[in-house]
Amino acid sequence: MDEWKPNPAVKPHKKRSWYLAWKYKLMNQRALRKLCQTGAVLFLLVTVIVNIKLILDTRRAAYEEEEESAQDYDDEMLNVEVPRHPVNNKKVLDVEVYSSRSKVYVAVDGTTVLEDEAREQGRGIHVIVLNQATGHVMAKRVFDTYSPHEDEAMVLFLNMVARGRILIFTIKDEGSFHLKDTAKNVLKSLGSQVAPFLSWRDMWTFVGKKGGEVYGEKHAKSPALSTWGDPVLLKTEVHLTSVEDAECHWPDTELNRRRKRFCSKVEGYGSVCSCKDPTPIEFNPDPLKDNKVFDVPVAVIAGNRPNYLYRMLRSLLSAQGVNPQMITVFIDGYYEEPMDVVELFGLSGIQHTPISIKNARVSQHYKASLTATFNLFPDAKFAVVLEEDLDISVDFFSFLSQSIHLLEEDESLYCISAWNDQGYEHTAEDPSLLYRVETMPGLGWVLRKSLYKDELEPKWPTPEKLWDWDMWMRMPEQRKGRECIIPDISRSYHFGIVGLNMNGYFHEAYFKKHKFNTVPNVQLKNVESLRKDAYETEIHRLLGEAEVLDHSKDPCEDSFVPDTEGKIYVMFIRMEQEADFTTWTQLAKCLHIWDLDVRGNHKGLWRLFRKKNHFLVVGVPSSPYSSKKPSSVTPIYMEPPAKEEGAAAVPAVAAAEQT
């Protein structure tokens, strides 16, 4: 651990607590200082003694654990846990909230529950929800209301918070630029007097009970466009209610116990914690007949996006044929809230001490999760790999059940994936259709154990290599020419917009319009024709039936494809050798499909739908299917736009990102 260098990208932060310095100056009186010094020395002494004792105890415990005398059934672990101070015998909480340009903090009874003074981060309105009976932090969010749409997310969140909870607000830097009237009105309805008039670079703090009293509000106006309002510090008291009053009275069942545990700890999950009409947490979807994937373990790879995980698990547990006992959620880090979500649904979760940084960390988390999955289910031949920001189609397991035997029998296959990179609303049509592709889409896929154990695990990129696991898996050294099976219409939907490599723009451009199957029990067509040789026969049949489009027209124009339905069309583009994707990339761009790197190809052939017609694109002369080109047809060549400054850099960066 000591060898790891801290992330060089992080700039050292400077403390900007001049406000506090000024405050302390005022208190700089001799007697007080002396008292403080004596107090500090005493405190230090006590701390040192306690720590030494703790270290000794821990050592002894560790030693004895090792020496675990087999003669004895006693677990000699010493109880190092110091009994916690009960919080709830106090009826009043002291709350301190600070808002300024470069720092915000919130302290509850002297404990800092929020402190953010990082540069270029955490701009906007910070919201903290406290349990009105215990004072525990139930949710912590920041909404960058300087940017568009974040105020909508805040409104959504505030609406989900149960009545009676204590809400704390504070602004860091700027929180008003895109704070629209709807949001301001919600804040007003919570009792804020200032919110409707919040403006550019104002500082603001507010503490109130949802649907109840206001405990305090402070505001500092920005005097001029170029400057910020003075820092504000709000100190107030909050009266706690009884635990009884803070809980719902659901019937005492096993499920409701889980619900109660969850709802007394966290906030922001809406109707699952509704007292009157809570949304179910058990789904019991119809079982699948002859389910071939009932015993296949499902690994859900998660980080610290508990709301995403909540949405993901709901859809997963609602899919027909799901087997909750086979699901394990792997959480990258010791985050409590994702674990709470896992326990709410009665699933098992595993936490992973973060190693390495950024992409390498994701990659190491994947490795640990996959290895653990095959350890926990030693009989499994496959594992389903999912991520926390996916919706799972209702027929996800049905789709896998119908196709998994191919992965077992056809050695030329690398994976089965639920995701079609090129399956957008306007390019995917047939829920029963499958393809073979040379790329590895990820986003809900099946991994063969032998592939993992014999090939991938032993040479998985080590932490110091900052590689994306999926990019690595796509490299020819790993893929070795094998292909993945994908559906025309995806069985997963990528909803995440906050992530390591994600932002709103990127999501809007490449993921939002992705087609997602919602039809249950789709019977897949011709699964056997997906085998290596059968697929070639199938492609030749399609090309034989296909009508050659008019190559004198502009392929980007809608009129390039006739206004028909259910026909097969083929076009030929120029592709000098296997790696020449010049024309394809331009075509993909104008068709508004994935163009950041090449996806969805099979031997220089792409298959998609246009205007509900099957649309084949063949790269000539590189593709073996070039022979199907009539000699009169000249393959279409599309030139890449002249390089403008910066323009080329965007896709290059984005392409390297994990999606």
């Binding site: 006693d74 109880n79 096993e254 792997f330 595993i350 936490q351 030693p378 032993p458 040479k459 080590t462």
Partner: protein, 426 residues
């Protein structure tokens, strides 16, 4: 009517019918929750084994008297396969309603132990259901990589009731254990329908050698901090070959019923780094000479591993070496037991020199290594130290088997007229 029968019989013969009643209640409890348990109580299985032919032939027949479940004991032991039930809490509520007190013993999941810094939920290893003066010990078995079943040790946490049952008398839990997946048999004994291992005597035999050692993952991680792992393509390839060679060797020897253990460098790799040492270049196994079978050589040849050399004689210094794929060699050393030590021999081909390698006495334990359930010496540290000296923690790349080991003894030269027999090279 079983209850009447038992009461009458039990009291007449001065036996303990409480036990029979508690077992019957327990079986009722678990069958009402569809949990398949099987009987592994060694004392009862011992009795059952004597009558096994008769019990098999009349699986539903009524018993004339209470023979097995009425001997007064503090416990009866059952096994549960973890994957066959869903951990419903309902079971415990029903148990309480029936008057059972229960205790659950949790501990960390060993299947995640080897993993870099994963922490899962603790898993239940043992349950104890107590009613009146009798207790049911339910041992939870987990499937692990290597196609075997594992049960954990029973360790009490501090807050637990140490007097809940006389823990020291339990038959399972002193050590963790490893078992083959048993074939089960539905039988009716003492008018109770239970499942038992199909072959009780071989189960009991297995039980007596079931002690399991977990690899020292924490120390292995510390080792790799000091000496980063070799991640080169060569190392990856060698490990892969060594693993498949070991799997093939284990399959071959297990089919012959020959007991073997990880020896020399392979054992050191397991003990020090929980993996194959990439620069070790071969796979080393040990076999007690009393387990030697002449079929070993043909069996390996049939498995595609030709004999490379054979040194020594069966009654002394025997050593076999088989050629695996691409220069990876399988060395099998035979061990000879003396009163106060165990030794194996070595022979130098060109000089006919003999060497003895001495080890303190050891017994065998199970462990898991490269997805295989294999034996290692239980007293591994002494074994490794005898072989590699006190500095075994430091990787050494140049190793001379004739001089480097700390337990090597020069033991003269084979007489020249025996060379053809004791030095066979192919």
């Amino acid at each position: 009517n079983g209850a009447a029968f038992s009461k009458a019989r039990g009291s007449q013969s001065g036996q303990d019918s409480t036990r029979w009643h508690v077992v019957r209640k327990f079986l009722g409890l678990i069958s009402s929750h569809n949990i398949p348990v099987y009987l592994i109580d060694p004392l009862i299985l011992g009795l059952v084994d004597k009558d096994i032919a008769q019990i098999r032939s009349s699986p539903d027949g009524p018993s004339p008297h209470c023979k097995y479940f009425c001997a007064p004991r503090d416990f009866t032991t059952f096994a549960l396969l973890d994957k066959t039930w869903k951990h419903e809490v309902g079971l415990f509520r029903t148990a309480e309603k029936m008057g059972f007190q229960w205790l659950k013993i949790l501990n960390k999941d060993p299947r995640l132990d080897g993993m870099d810094d994963l922490s899962g939920m603790e898993i239940p290893l043992h349950y104890i259901f107590k009613l009146a003066s009798h207790a049911i010990h339910l041992v939870v078995f987990y499937e692990r990589s290597g196609n075997y079943l594992w049960h954990g040790p029973l360790r009490l946490k501090q807050h637990m009731d140490r007097k809940f049952v006389p823990f020291r008398k339990l038959h399972f839990g002193r050590y963790p254990g490893a078992y083959e997946k048993p074939e089960l048999l539905h039988v009716s004994i003492d008018d109770l329908k239970v499942q038992i291992p199909k072959n009780p005597s071989s189960f009991l035999e297995e039980m007596s050698h079931s002690r399991f050692l977990e690899c020292r993952y924490r120390e292995a991680r510390a080792f790799f901090q000091l000496y980063p792992d070799d991640a080169s393509l060569d190392a990856v390839e060698f490990r892969k070959k060594a693993k498949s060679l070991l799997h093939l060797a284990a399959l071959t020897l297990n089919n012959l019923g020959v007991k073997f253990w990880l020896s020399s460098g392979t054992c050191l790799g397991w003990y020090r780094q929980c993996n194959v040492i990439p620069h070790s270049k071969d796979v080393d196994l040990g076999i007690f000479i009393r387990d030697y079978k002449a079929e070993i050589i043909p069996a390996f040849q049939k498995a595609g591993l030709p004999l490379k050399h054979k040194f020594g004689k069966v009654h002394r210094y025997l050593e076999l070496s088989f050629q695996g794929e691409d220069d990876v060699k399988l060395d099998i050393f035979f061990f000879y037991e003396e009163d106060d030590h165990i030794w194996n021999g070595g022979t130098q081909a060109k000089s006919g020199k003999k060497f003895k390698y001495l080890f303190p006495k050891f017994t065998l334990c199970w462990t898991e290594f490269v997805e295989l359930k294999v034996h290692v010496p239980c007293e591994t540290l002494q074994y490794v130290e005898a072989n590699y000296g006190p500095d075994w923690k430091v990787p050494v790349k140049t190793w001379d088997w004739k001089s480097s080991p700390s337990n090597v003894q020069d033991n003269g030269v084979w007489p020249v007229d025996e060379w053809d027999d004791v030095i066979q090279i192919y």
